[in-house]
Symmetry: D2
Subunit: 345 residues, 4 copies
């Protein structure tokens, strides 16, 4: 069985596990105050071209989203998200468990637009009983989105502008950031993101690390006492150096981007095969997640050898599914899948 | 200025303020353990034809919704509501502040259907990663809804059935219950509601009381330690007798229903005038809230003499507004409004 | 049975119920935006000699404490309180339910001292892992305390000074404030309190109102969006005018203080009788709560005719209890109690 | 600089990093549903002699404590802990952030006694207004405690008995469990713990793993939907196999216990040196944490070469500090420290 169902089926990039082995018996102080964390933070700051105030390392995505959002909001304030946003769908209500409403906006492609933010904000402000409704205070976007689409520079700048105008924080969930920044058509750099967002994070779990997400804070309102939030929400790893070692390895010689590009390239090979069969897509994109709509009988045939994710029923004989590549996907496995797709009748 | 903007512009029914005056210097124990509360609870239980286990008195609606929902749900469970539901829109995220997600369902008329519940529940159950999404556990409906519509017996029974099948609690917000149960076309009794719902509340604030909501618990899972929840959420009135006195007055000789019917009858007179002008409605209904769509210039004329609520912009020259009658509305004021509507050109 | 067990056994001062009756059918806007609330707020501001920024009216004490504390603190910050503080003991964890730790300090008489605050704060600051412990951010005191003692001007000023030095908010729970400010030995005025505290509240429930607490905000950090907090926590009364009417009546001609003094005077008569019997006290004080230590057999005799509160077992034959007077206590009832105490053998 | 300040200064036991390297490129499903987690859970169940229902793997201690406690308690219920308990002091109010009060009991040695539980529970039950106070529902103990002391079998059985009688859950935080179970004087086995506790966890972070805590659930009331809690609180590691691999390695051939015993033995060597100098201890114990009271000038000398933790000021010239050994401490480093202690004058 070859798994294409997600981008966290393997461990980590070999150079990370080597570095972890090498440094294993060194003594360091705990909780992210060690030199490896400092070094990794410096490397990330440099990549952001000095648009970052602080970098913190947390363990996983749900934890990171909930921590950042709780740090940004008072209890009567909410976070705007696409209805398909990870925080609105796949985190078991972690944001609500910390007391905040997710204000969901409709979206077909996983993205939200500046105009939608404007309308929602003005509706709230214009309400004579505005203290009876949740006050919008943060905008959450994911890049790439849960549907594999990416934000273009112009879109991000417009979002940043409307957020700035209304005093909203702009937060980008970059769980798959590497795959976005190396995708065909992408025109964003990490420095652009650091300039536009008040806070964002660089996903390690899905892009080569064993685990770990690097939160980059740009707005000083979010900087104060952030470590208290990390500790309280359970995200402060005792052996914090594990995160520092992983991220410094990923940002050495742009490994993070090289391995993400590898995944995108292999995804393109699968896409080409799917295109040859004439399948359409739930949403078209250029990153490592592919959402073809396929005949159920074709899916059944592939399921003997390949793992993929069921996404949605389209009609009585067709379903949308997800195939994922990752930094760890091999040319060989993709070749097999492509051959088997080509062979479907 | 005559106010038609809501149903809580006046104090309380005269017989309530009289009774409060009469009993003012009596000594009673606090926190709802007095004889007036016992008496009121008994009267309500009788009205429910022995389908109630417990009756508790709280002060206001937001507090009551949040208390009941928090008592019913564990932190990973959510409450299903129409997107227009009061808890989803007008309570400043009180439910989320207690850690629970509101799972909003689309609705044009403020009501939700059994079929929608079924779909949402089955979608959750069918998810292979179901612990990554909020578990639906309660269904919140309001009757009348925020748009003045009412549930029919068959609809309520279907909701109860689907809730029972899936182990979901059914909770009815009856902030305006009196207006619903005396509306033209209503075929529900309070006993029906007590039979169908696991918990519901009878609104006092909007139907003749100074304040107060009576929570009726039917499901024994919700009965245990409910007073701890009331106290913690700030809903336990020190002089609890004030609630007992008000509700026992309202349920003596069905005063609650008599005064609600009065409001509906006056609403019908306003509706007749609006119909004569040929206005359409945002939603049609038979209770004390009326949602006409009117030319903005007509609204401007009326606004000199009458208070009403702005609801939504329909087009460049029309808006939907809300006129409310209540137990306190006078024939005389309605007559004036009707004449002025008739006189619009 | 004559009840001395608490100060909320009766309704409200007759002039309040009269005013509520008189204004009952007036139409006003809701949620505390009416003229009665404005008038009451102005009267209170005047009493504070312009040391107040805003006055808000809430329904009950637990709700008020939780709302003020949640408005002041971020999730990793805690509120310092005497171990006997109402928020630490008698509010079913309402503060914790909103996510904040109560940092309890030892206290024999219900009061906390500036020196204790200093020590606790410095211990936190000196901790190299300080983000692993809750950050102290607010000091909660009650005046009178739960044990009937009062703060003297010098003590309050010292607390204010240490709070100011360390950036802590000082919050006074004045559920029984009237009884404190009219007690023998008191040297504080409401203006002193408004000068020293960042926020405090004036209790209505226990001092002549049917219900209601008036929150006075002095620090502008606590002012912003406070109405959102009130609404979310369920403390925004739909018919807010009920609170405005009650507080404007209480602050007309200093009624609030006159009726509180009445209670203290009657408490002194009971104290004199207890002194004649030679009883000692759990804590000595000069307000309307009295905590004598009495032989259990004497208590048994009194319990046939009088309600009092059990406080603590002292030894095998003695207990501490609480007798309360209030604005509503009659000379006649006190005379009876005094005679019966005098007659104990 | 040789660090003795905590037991998480190094990475992990060499056999773990080897196993992680070996399995690195295997494909497994995520979120703890892989075979390595199943295998590790089975090994732990076996060690518990079939007294466990479920084993779950989380990442860190604060997260684990908060998740278990939130899963056990409703919002009005509290957890009893020694005042020195980790949840009460060093987790930034994580338990309160989830809405629950920690009910702290005095303790000199970090342990709490059955009699204290009994008194606190009965005080609550005897309160006529018991719904005004937090309901005790869980007892939290740590073994070894934060002061390095251990529970004896008889003590644990008495705690279990009183908890059982009153319907309280007994929860043991075993962050350092290995050091406790291999300490001189210990008479508990893991099976005893599984028999006595409703839930407990086996600490990996401090006993040889890179990170990870294994929660063992014995009471079926705590079993239902536990994975929802893990996910919501951010404790569900995407690459869950990392935890399975670590714990299966630790429980193969009792490695967990062997390496813990190593630490205790080295701690004894340091203790012997401290005893030779005649120092007393803050608390005496037999595990890997040592709390000597030493002259400040001696501490200053040692601080040039050794890291230790400052614990408390004892008097003007003495302080209590903490020295920790761990699975990773070397004989050589201990030998140096011992020589330097012996050389102090």
């Amino acid at each position: 069985m070859i798994l294409f169902q997600c981008d966290y089926n393997e461990g980590c990039h070999p150079s990370i596990i080597e570095k972890l082995s090498e440094t294993n018996m060194e003594q360091t102080v705990g909780y992210g105050m060690d030199d490896y964390c400092k070094q990794a933070a410096d490397m990330i700051c440099q990549k952001c071209e000095n648009n970052a105030l602080d970098v913190h390392f947390l363990v996983g995505g749900t934890q990171t989203n909930a921590t950042v959002i709780d740090a940004a909001l008072r209890s009567y304030q909410g976070v705007i998200s696409a209805v398909s946003g990870h925080i609105n769908v796949h985190e078991t209500g972690a944001v609500e468990a910390m007391g905040h409403k997710v204000l969901a906006l409709p979206s077909d492609d996983g993205k939200i637009r500046a105009e939608q933010i404007k309308q929602l904000y003005e509706l709230h402000q214009g309400d004579s009983d505005k203290e009876h409704t949740v006050q919008p205070k943060m905008v959450y976007i994911s890049n790439p989105t849960e549907l594999g689409t990416i934000y273009y520079k112009e879109e991000l700048e417009e979002l940043a502008k409307v957020c700035h105008t209304y005093g909203l924080y702009l937060f980008m969930d970059g769980a798959r950031l590497g795959y976005g920044l190396t995708a065909e058509g992408n025109d964003l750099t990490m420095a652009d993101i650091a300039r536009c967002c008040d806070v964002f994070y660089i996903g390690g779990t899905k892009v080569g690390a064993l685990f770990g997400e690097a939160v980059v804070i740009r707005n000083k309102d979010l900087q104060k006492d952030f470590r208290y939030f990390i500790k309280q929400k359970g995200g402060m790893l005792a052996k914090g150096r594990l995160l520092g070692i992983q991220f410094s390895t990923l940002f050495e010689n742009d490994l993070y981007f090289t391995i993400a590009q590898h995944a995108n390239k292999l995804a393109d090979e699968i896409r080409a095969a799917l295109n040859r069969k004439g399948y359409s897509y739930l949403v078209e994109n250029t990153t490592n997640q592919i959402f073809p709509i396929m005949p159920d009988e074709h899916l059944k045939i592939l399921s003997d050898k390949y793992g993929y994710c069921y996404q949605a029923k389209i009609d009585d004989t067709h379903s949308a599914v997800r195939f994922c590549t990752s930094w760890a996907t091999t040319e060989e496995n993709v070749k097999r899948l492509v051959e088997d797709i080509d062979g479907l009748k």
